[in-house]
């Protein structure tokens, strides 16, 4: 029987990995992948607590998260393609128009 803390630990490690990936990587695609990692960390958390608390709600929410992650990935990749067509780059540092 694997204790709950193990799941939480794995989840925390994965989330931190994703967060750092989002913060330091410059490639837009990698950033997107890191977001996916963070989402999956949350999923692990949800499923683990679901099992621990013997409630199906967590697993159902996890399914929703997966569906939303798929949609997010689709929209995100589409944006990347459009940006790439315009700038021939996926470097996040160059995409700095979102300011005053």
């Amino acid at each position: 029987m694997i204790p709950l803390s193990a799941y939480v630990a794995v989840s925390a490690v994965l989330f931190t990995t994703g967060l750092i990936g989002v913060l330091i990587r410059r490639n837009f695609i990698i950033v997107l992948m890191s977001v996916e990692i963070m989402l999956n960390a949350a999923n692990i958390n949800l499923v683990a607590f679901s099992h621990y608390l013997e409630s199906m709600a967590g697993q159902i929410v996890a399914l929703f998260v997966i569906a939303i992650a798929a949609g997010e990935a689709a929209v995100g990749l589409a944006i990347i393609i459009v940006v790439f067509r315009g700038r021939l780059s996926t470097n996040v540092d160059e995409l700095n128009l979102l300011k005053w």
């Binding site: 913060l23 996040v92 700095n96 300011k99």
Partner: protein, 665 residues
């Protein structure tokens, strides 16, 4: 029969609509045929109605439709056909038809030919409504309609200033009379709650003498305006600015007699008001004499006839005032014949002389236009009251009534008026047709007899002027009197004064002698000793000038009424401009200054404050916006940092232990 009655005014109305709306699209020939044709059809219908009424002897009411109703009030557009209406119908449509025919020749080639006939037919419609209506409102509609047409036709040559002024004058003077007429209608309605003649006359007995007098006098004001009696007669001579057929139809034969018709129609009310009767009689008597004296010296052929019309209408009023209603209508009818004849022959003279109206520039026309001369002479004999022409019978009857009723002063006035009438009419004839020619040489070359379309109607009118009087023979008992008796006897004891034959014969002799005397004097002054007339005028310069200037009545009215009214208008204009406009402009200025102040405050106070706030914001934002780099990483980093800070704060808030406990386990 009912249909026949309804059709009478419909025919001219159709012609009005066609000629008025579509007249420009078709030829003048079609337009005038429609015009006189419609009146002719009306005349035929009127004859049918007349024959029917003569046969049955029953008054008949025909309701066209219910017009105004609600509560107790019902006013119909309805017609009353009784003997009085029949006589008026025959006169209006018959004389109207002849004048329409005459106009075809007279107006030939005039500007606005179709317009002329449209107005004429509109006049016929209005006049028919006036004489046929069975209540006061229909009468009033017709009354105003004929006034309107009179205005339009006097101002027919609207580019002539004098014609436009004369039209306005006629209209405004008639307004005064119409105001009185309206008051009378209101009084009738207040007292009887209905406007129908039959109901009003049936209930008239309940009226107090005072109220009857008030109504009768108000009606008289209306009649005086329409029929050009003292003091409102001044518009009629000026109305001669219109084309001559208009003068004949409207200002001699029909419209101006509407006042007489109205008084006779309302004789039940007048019979109850002796004061009003006396007033009517004196207005008539004075007008008859007064207008005749002015007619003595006028030199415009149409103006002489106009004053003679005023004078003859005075006779009719005189007859009404002494209760001789039949005589008034009888004179109305014969006057329509011979005055239309005189006007139209005068028109024929004017036509022959290319527009010349001054009798001082005529003379000796007998040889050149013999037909016109003969017809004019018939008219003159008729109006002068020479036996056996129509005017003799009707005028003599009025004078006889005045004498028999003991109104000797009125009789004397009428007799003097008759003498003057004979004098000025023969003066007119002599100056126009006899003696040496005083024509312009240029005009003289073009003198020509009028075409048959003009002479034909004149001949018919001449026959009527000759024979029309026999409708009332023997006096007091003629066919005419018996026919009208059904109307004039209503509400009276039915005593028409029985007059002995000897007295009648004597009065007739006197009247004839008076007329012949007038003729003789005119013959002496204007045919035998032509220089005498000027000598007489020179011997009495004041009298002559006064008469020539029509007693200065126009000037008097100008000074007393017209000028003060104008001044009052100007005073109001000044008041409006200075006081009322001053207030308005002042308020405007105040608003303007207020808004200027408001603008200043806005600019230098409100905007200043706003600008300060805006500038401060701007400056503050300048330092803070550096935070927005546009780099996603920075945002995420701040997000994460904020998140950590929040978590720490929340944990610290909740007093740590339990939260940290969970995290530690």
């Amino acid at each position: 029969m009912d249909l026949l009655v309804l059709l009478i005014p419909v025919f001219p109305l159709v012609a009005v609509l066609l000629n008025g709306l579509l007249g420009r699209r078709y030829s003048h020939d079609l337009a005038h045929r429609l015009a006189w044709g419609s009146v002719g059809l009306s005349f035929l219908c009127a004859v049918g109605v007349f024959v029917e009424t003569l046969r049955t002897g029953v008054a008949r009411e025909v309701v066209a439709y219910r017009w105004i109703f609600g509560g107790d009030l019902t006013i119909n557009l309805a017609f009353l056909v009784d003997p009085l209406t029949c006589i008026m119908l025959l006169v209006v449509t018959g004389v109207g038809f002849l004048i329409h025919l005459y106009s075809v020749g007279y107006m030939h080639g005039e500007e606005g030919f179709t317009r002329f006939f449209t107005y004429m037919n509109l006049f016929m419609v209005s006049m028919l409504l006036l004489v046929m209506g069975n209540n006061y409102l229909v009468l009033f509609i017709g009354w105003e309609g004929v006034g309107l047409c009179s205005y339009l036709l006097i101002g027919y040559y609207y580019d002539k200033v004098s014609a436009a002024k004369a039209a306005t004058k006629a209209f405004v003077v008639n307004r005064i009379g119409d105001a009185g007429f309206l008051l009378a209608i209101f009084l009738v309605f207040v007292n009887f709650k209905t406007l129908d003649y039959t109901q009003v006359f049936a209930q008239a007995g309940q009226l107090s003498t005072g109220m009857a007098t008030a109504i009768a006098l108000c009606l008289l004001v209306g009649a005086v305006g329409k029929s050009a009696q003292i003091p409102l007669y001044t518009w009629l001579p000026d109305a001669m600015e219109g084309p001559t057929p208009v003068s004949a139809l409207i200002h001699a034969a029909t419209m101006v007699t509407a006042g007489v018709y109205m008084i006779v129609r309302n004789h039940v009310l007048y019979d109850m008001a002796p004061v009003a009767m006396t007033t009517v009689a004196w207005v008539g008597g004075l007008t008859a004499l007064f207008a005749a004296t002015i007619g003595l010296v006028q030199t415009d052929i149409k103006r002489v006839l106009a004053y003679s019309t005023v004078s003859q209408l005075g006779y009719m009023f005189l007859a009404c005032g002494i209760g001789a209603y039949t005589a008034a209508i009888f004179h109305l009818m014969t006057h329509a014949f011979f005055k239309a004849l005189l006007f139209l022959s005068a028109g024929s003279v004017i036509h022959a002389l290319s527009g010349e109206q001054d009798i001082m520039k005529m003379g000796g026309l007998k040889a050149k236009i013999p037909w016109t001369h003969a017809l004019f002479l018939v008219g003159t004999l008729a109006i002068a009251g020479i036996f056996p022409f129509a005017g003799f019978w009707s005028k003599d009857e009025i004078m006889a009534h005045a004498f028999v009723h003991g109104q000797y002063v009125l009789y004397a006035m009428a007799a003097i008026g008759a003498f003057l009438t004979a004098f000025y009419m023969f003066r007119l004839t002599y100056l126009t047709f006899y003696g040496a020619s005083r024509l312009d040489p240029h005009t003289a070359e073009h003198v020509h007899e009028s075409p048959p379309i003009m002479i034909g109607p004149l001949a018919v009118l001449a026959v009527l002027s000759l024979l029309g009087g026999f409708a009332g023979v023997p006096p007091e008992a003629g066919w005419f009197h018996q026919f009208l008796h059904a109307v004039t006897a209503v509400g009276r004891g039915g005593e028409e004064h029985g007059v002995g034959f000897g007295l009648v014969a004597t009065l007739m002799m006197v009247a004839t002698a008076i007329a012949l005397l007038g003729w003789g004097l005119a013959h002496y002054l204007y045919s035998v000793r032509t220089e005498k007339a000027a000598q007489w005028a020179a011997r009495l310069p004041r009298v002559y000038a006064t008469l020539l200037n029509k007693y200065h009545v126009d000037e008097l009215y100008d000074a007393l009424i017209v000028e003060p009214t104008k001044r009052l208008g100007l005073a109001w204009d000044w008041f409006d401009r200075t006081v009322i406009d001053g207030v308005v402009v002042g308020v405007g200025r105040m608003t303007h200054s207020g808004s200027a102040l408001s603008t200043w405050i806005e600019k230098y106070v409100v905007y200043a404050a706003l600008n300060v706030v805006g500038y401060a914001n701007h400056q503050a934002a300048r330092s803070w916006r550096k935070l927005q780099t546009g780099q996603v990483h920075h945002y995420v980093a701040i997000l994460v940092a904020g998140f950590f800070i929040l978590v720490h704060l929340i944990l610290a808030w909740w007093g740590g232990a339990s939260g940290i406990g969970i995290a530690a386990r």
